[in-house]
Symmetry: C2
Subunit: 354 residues, 2 copies
């Protein structure tokens, strides 16, 4: 993936997909799982970033679809069927990816909020004012920031005081005329006047912007310093995030007293990484042994909100049993019919997804 981004960069273009775990992933794997990340808000997930695919089918024949077309309405959408099928319908061996004009400017702000509902008000304001120039909107609670500050070397709190919630906002511009920063400043001024935000700081250098992003990107690593954690990658409608997180926190307080939930992620996509760190000084193995029970309870809540039990990480083996509980039986039946049609012997990535 890094190679793809570097190649795009050499061509003076931009490829927006970036994942913290990308070191271990081939590009085909990122497509097979319809990978997401922080760039989805403005550029879409892997499905929207792919023009053509080459796929090896179950019988070994090669389906060549390495087209560079933006529009092609000739029959069923096979590309989007293989993307996200996690290798169970075919093996992606090559792809034509969509590149974008490189943004000439980016502006980044770290914004403090007294409550999570403020993030929704701020997102609506940002979407309205910045439109497609809003290229990231990530939310995180104070506890996530504290974990990063405690366990990741070289991090520091961007703001002088502690606040319950934070949002990392990025605006981009195709013009090198200061418009990305002006847009962000106007937005923050409007949010401040409306009483939505507590405090905010703008990155005044690329290094500072990188520091803000480093905080955001380090939560998974930082959580390792706090013992075991049970992870959920879920989505709900954007407007429901604050209510969902409040209900989930109450649920965890009841179910695992002392456990410490970190609700963070891609606010504008409705994508919450709801990762729960074990109680301080508690038994790691004992906590992790409750994985299925805890994720099951969170998933049940997700479904009450009309959400998805896997927003961007897919199903794999881990969520296979959960998928059967969460998905409409008829949808599973249709998926199974497609699987049987394309892989009648069940030899492609057996034991995954279905």
């Amino acid at each position: 993936l890094a190679e793809v981004r570097e190649a795009a960069d050499r061509a003076g273009r931009y490829f927006p997909l970036s994942l913290p775990s990308e070191g271990s992933c081939q590009i085909g794997g990122n497509l097979a799982t319809n990978a997401g990340g922080v760039g989805v808000l403005a550029y879409g997930s892997a499905r929207q970033l792919t023009l053509g695919l080459e796929v090896v089918l179950a019988d070994g024949r090669v389906l060549s679809g390495l087209t560079a077309l933006k529009k092609d309405n000739t029959g069923y959408d096979l590309r989007d069927l293989f993307i996200g099928s996690e290798g169970t319908l075919g093996v992606i061996t090559a792809a034509v990816l969509k590149l974008f004009p490189k943004p000439r400017e980016m502006a980044t702000a770290f914004v403090a909020l007294s409550e999570l509902s403020g993030a929704l008000a701020l997102f609506n304001l940002a979407a309205e004012r910045a439109g497609a120039n809003l290229t990231a909107f990530e939310f995180m609670p104070r506890i996530a920031l504290s974990f990063a500050l405690a366990h990741i070397a070289g991090t520091r709190d961007p703001l002088p005081a502690a606040h319950p919630w934070y949002v990392l906002i990025e605006t981009s511009s195709a013009r090198a005329d200061g418009s990305a920063e002006r847009l962000l400043l106007t937005l923050l001024a409007a949010a401040s006047s409306a009483g939505i935000i507590g405090d905010a700081t703008l990155a005044h250098s690329l290094a500072q912007a990188r520091d803000f992003w480093r905080l955001r990107d380090s939560f998974s690593a930082a959580q390792k310093g706090e013992g075991g954690s049970i992870k959920n990658d879920v989505s709900v409608p954007v407007a429901a995030i604050p209510a969902f997180v409040a209900r989930a926190d109450a649920l965890i307080a009841r179910l695992c007293p002392g456990a410490r939930p970190l609700a963070f992620g891609h606010f504008g996509d409705g994508n919450v990484h709801y990762n729960i760190s074990q109680p301080i000084g508690g038994d790691r193995a004992g906590f992790l042994a409750r994985w299925e029970e805890v994720t099951g309870a969170i998933n049940a809540l997700v479904l009450q909100f009309g959400g998805s039990i896997s927003a961007e990480h897919g199903i794999g083996q881990l969520k296979r049993a959960e998928l059967i509980r969460a998905k409409a039986p008829l949808a599973l039946e249709v998926m199974r019919a497609i699987k049987d049609a394309l892989d009648p012997k069940g030899i492609l990535n057996p034991g995954k997804v279905l």
Copy 2:
């Protein structure tokens, strides 16, 4: 479709899909064909504008997927399979559509070019400078404009002199601060300095912008005043449009001397509506009788350019035989396997697509 746009408008939001033939189409039909149009450049086609679907399957059972989620990676992408399947895999009976913040400003320019390769240079410049604020980029030849001026009441030439090619450019902004117009003016100034454009005029009122769009939208109607026409809805990679059109024009001059091709459409999507009007004073029925021969020759050329024989209108009955010639046999086989799996009795929209 008009109702959807009006409902969005009442909610202070924006739904970008708009089609000249929409009067006769239900929203389900627009989704079943993955409808496109002038807004695809910035907002995507029907597939990108849909969040959830309700579909009646071949056995009458209802697949309920009316989700409002932006991200959901739980199994195969059934939504995008039903969209664009033209009713052959299931009947779309309800949908959740994506709305956008309403642009606060739009600026529209009618630009003259001495050759079509100038449109490519102008598009690259516009994409680079305007990024996501470029919301339309339509191209058309002089002959299309003449047909509109001759046959559509109340139209007038936006420019004092005639030019071989034209582009209709629209920029949009989420801010009501004159930025859409400033962006377009800066872009035109840069294009003029670079010698890309011959002349250009900016719409100075909403009425003038509507007049520019009315010209663009009237070509199909205007062609009726010039006798029979053979229509092609094809796509090629964007950078190949000028070479493709030159080769297609030469082909038609050889194949049907006197016939008058109009190559127009969605430049930024690589989508060329290559509609050929019969020779002046020629035999209408005789010309139309050559439909298959002429479209077959154009499609063969399209395939040489790595293009698609149906960019946005789908296959239906008309292009079914052509699809078999144009598509890789293995891709057709995979589509057929999916069709057989979901509609084993072949009762859904028989005789279409496959």
